[in-house]
Symmetry: C2
């Protein structure tokens, strides 16, 4: 264990374990990648520490150099104030992959993410002749721009392939088909694993997912991928509330999750969990919500505002005040009807009509070009929510929203649930380490 | 002409002209949009001047408030230092649209672009009851973030529909099928009109194209749309050379077009033009170039560098020196062969092997998610080049690049040529005004 200086080896699970030996993958084999398809790709560098190679012209602007924590009680990218760009990827584990290969890949993802999030490549761009570059290079001159990498596990991972059947949390049961889910496309839903990469720079987020996908080659295959932009949901008291592509402020009443008490109450899995390994983690719901933009754009302003329950320009409740004034659901207008309608989005989504339940939204706007059948824009919201228990939180609210008049203008086209394990404690920890039965 | 305060009317061509009267579109009809499908959408505001309505919480950060010129000899978005985000849209004019309707839309685009590029909505978000919002609102709190809107005309516009047959520049002849063009998809190529919107903020660029598309509803239909990110090509001596998704610096030898002599020589149409209206304009070539990323990523570093002719990390020529050292095509290595190979990208693209010809590249990286057939990333370069004459410049270089070894790893999947008219001179000017025979 000491014939080179690469602490990354300490991230390797099951070192010299029976399955690895059986397939002839010794330690040296792991380091050179010889035991994995995509051989030649090496994470031959310290996780978060000194690297054995020279890093290029780092982006030393304040914005480019800014980082988010990598190690800690929780993964970053959840209560982290939202960055401007997102790339979200889901993967399926390939047929015939054995447990130790999956574990090794998750360890390599951890090592790579620890480097990427401090703006370092996952390995040398200039390798020895005969090898491809270890890092693909497109972020070589860019700082991390607050990159976060957040990894989750889908329900399908907990079948009989990897010995995880008795590790599946009850809260990871499939969401099922909700009332509004008549248009869900299974090919862009679910997956064994997911990665959410967020950064202020889209090239940095793309680079992270691309290089993690590359590290996973032979072990996992991309199932679907979604890019997002904008800031569809403020996650911090210090951020201006961003707007969704319907033009409304989205997130005025979102959880301000930098308050640890609020995050503990709604976001982080705690002692209620049936699975010890998920404590400190969170459940991620991802739903791609197509907007019927042209229909929306021709709707009357009065109707648009009635549907949301807020003023379009200021975000103020129709019951009066300014953006952050509390909603008043009983205040009536001259016609005797509530100013904020019963079937308005803000009313149906409000904690008061959902037994006090809240979720942390962290979605992004998306556009996929045009719908060639109609020549209209194909765009909407890639909704992401984090919570302690999606069945008790997201599903409850979403069921209430089945009556939302907004449903006339939107259609969820994908739906996914992932268990996001807690943060990595230090160099040597990796995604799922305790889930697989190793000591953290 | 004086019964309201909307200077936008001065942008309206053919006011009260016969075709408009024939179809019952009077001036009032234009102002209220009643004569157009998508009625109710009004650009009821001053072009670049005072607006009749309140603008929301402007983004007053330095970065958000930064603007590029709108009026001038040339359209912005060409020699403008490249912004981080792009949305490029191509449109076809609908059947049965008459010339004055097209002219009116182009005038409304001009008025709207003059507002968008200074960070204003194209009209009120809060309209009167009974009308949809004039602006869709998603950029309401954002500054322009250096937004540029660049409009071009495709060859198909110059048929017999709009009386433009004798206005077609010879230089707008179709590019035809080039040597590498075996995979061009016509549904994502060409179009009667194009809009290139670039901004540091992707939501601002998207908002611009969306609202211009909305203004055009009933007159034009989206043909294709492409988003891009990153900075695939430096257009300024002050910008760090960005990297393409092959991880190489792209644009080291690009024209530094802020030098007006260089721009006059290579970019701006001059007295050589057979069409007076194109003087001060430029020709835009747009080519979507899919990269076979997985194949590239498994190629040896030595081969990758030989293909490009440069070092991957530093961008230095393989003939020695640092990034901006001149290429030396005769210098030989110990094996007696040129250090920069004859069929390397830098050699084949170099002015010395193209009769001195140059182009201004201004492309963006793109990703369209995954190729579901293979589970591999669908990504590449949305190549954009501006030049005085694409047949003499782009085509010449591209024909030389037919021998490029890089072609093993890339495939152009769309190809378009647009004539980009000169800049708008002042309020009252509009895209194509002189082309249609009006006095500027």
């Amino acid at each position: 264990m000491s014939d080179d200086n690469s602490p990354e080896v300490s991230n390797t699970p099951g070192q010299g374990s029976a399955p690895q030996r059986r397939r002839g993958i010794g330690r040296r084999g792991f380091l050179t990648g010889a035991g994995l398809a995509g051989a030649g790709l090496v994470v031959g560098a310290a996780a978060g520490g000194a690297t054995g190679y020279v890093v290029g012209n780092d982006d030393t602007t304040d914005a480019g150099a800014a980082t988010e924590p990598f190690y800690g009680d929780h993964q970053s990218g959840i209560v982290t104030p939202q960055q401007n760009s997102m790339v979200f990827a889901a993967f399926d584990v390939n047929d015939s992959v054995i447990t130790s290969q999956l574990q090794t890949m998750l360890a390599r993802w951890a090592a790579a993410a620890s480097l990427l999030t401090v703006g370092k490549p996952v390995g040398p761009v200039e390798t020895q002749p005969g090898s491809p570059p270890a890092d693909t290079g497109e972020a070589f001159d860019l700082g991390p721009h607050r990159l976060t990498v957040t990894v989750g596990f889908g329900e399908s991972l907990f079948d009989d392939r990897f010995g995880l059947a008795d590790k599946k949390p009850a809260a990871l049961a499939p969401l099922g088909q909700l009332a509004v889910d008549s248009s869900i496309d299974p090919t862009i839903s679910g997956g064994d694993l997911c990665i959410q990469a967020c950064s202020e720079d889209p090239q940095v987020a793309f680079h992270a997912v691309r290089n993690l996908a590359r590290i996973g080659r032979g072990v996992v295959t991309l199932r679907w991928l979604q890019e997002g932009f904008g800031r569809a949901s403020a996650t911090s008291t210090s951020q201006v509330t961003p707007r969704n592509l319907m033009g409304f402020k989205d997130g005025t009443a979102n959880i301000k999750a930098e308050d640890p008490d609020i995050a503990d109450k709604w976001v982080w899995v705690g002692d209620e969990s049936d699975q010890e390994w998920m404590k400190g983690g969170s459940y991620l719901v991802a739903r791609k919500i197509r907007m019927h933009i042209e229909a929306w754009d021709s709707d009357d302003i009065v109707d648009q505002e009635a549907i949301f329950g807020r003023s379009k320009d200021s975000g103020a409740p129709l019951s009066g005040g300014s953006e952050f004034t509390a909603l008043n659901f009983t205040k009536k207008g001259p016609d005797g009807k509530p100013l904020v309608e019963r079937f308005s989005h803000v009313h149906l989504a409000h904690p008061d009509t959902n037994g006090g339940v809240q979720i942390l939204r962290r979605g992004y706007n998306y556009t996929d070009g045009i719908d060639t059948r109609t020549g209209t824009l194909d765009a909407g919201l890639f909704f992401i929510a984090y919570q302690k228990n999606a069945h008790e939180q997201f599903v409850r609210i979403q069921n209430n929203l089945a009556q939302d008049r907004l449903n006339e203008y939107i259609a969820p086209i994908s739906s996914s649930l992932f268990a996001v394990p807690p943060g990595l404690t230090a160099v040597g920890d990796w995604y799922g380490k305790t889930m697989f039965g190793y000591v953290a």
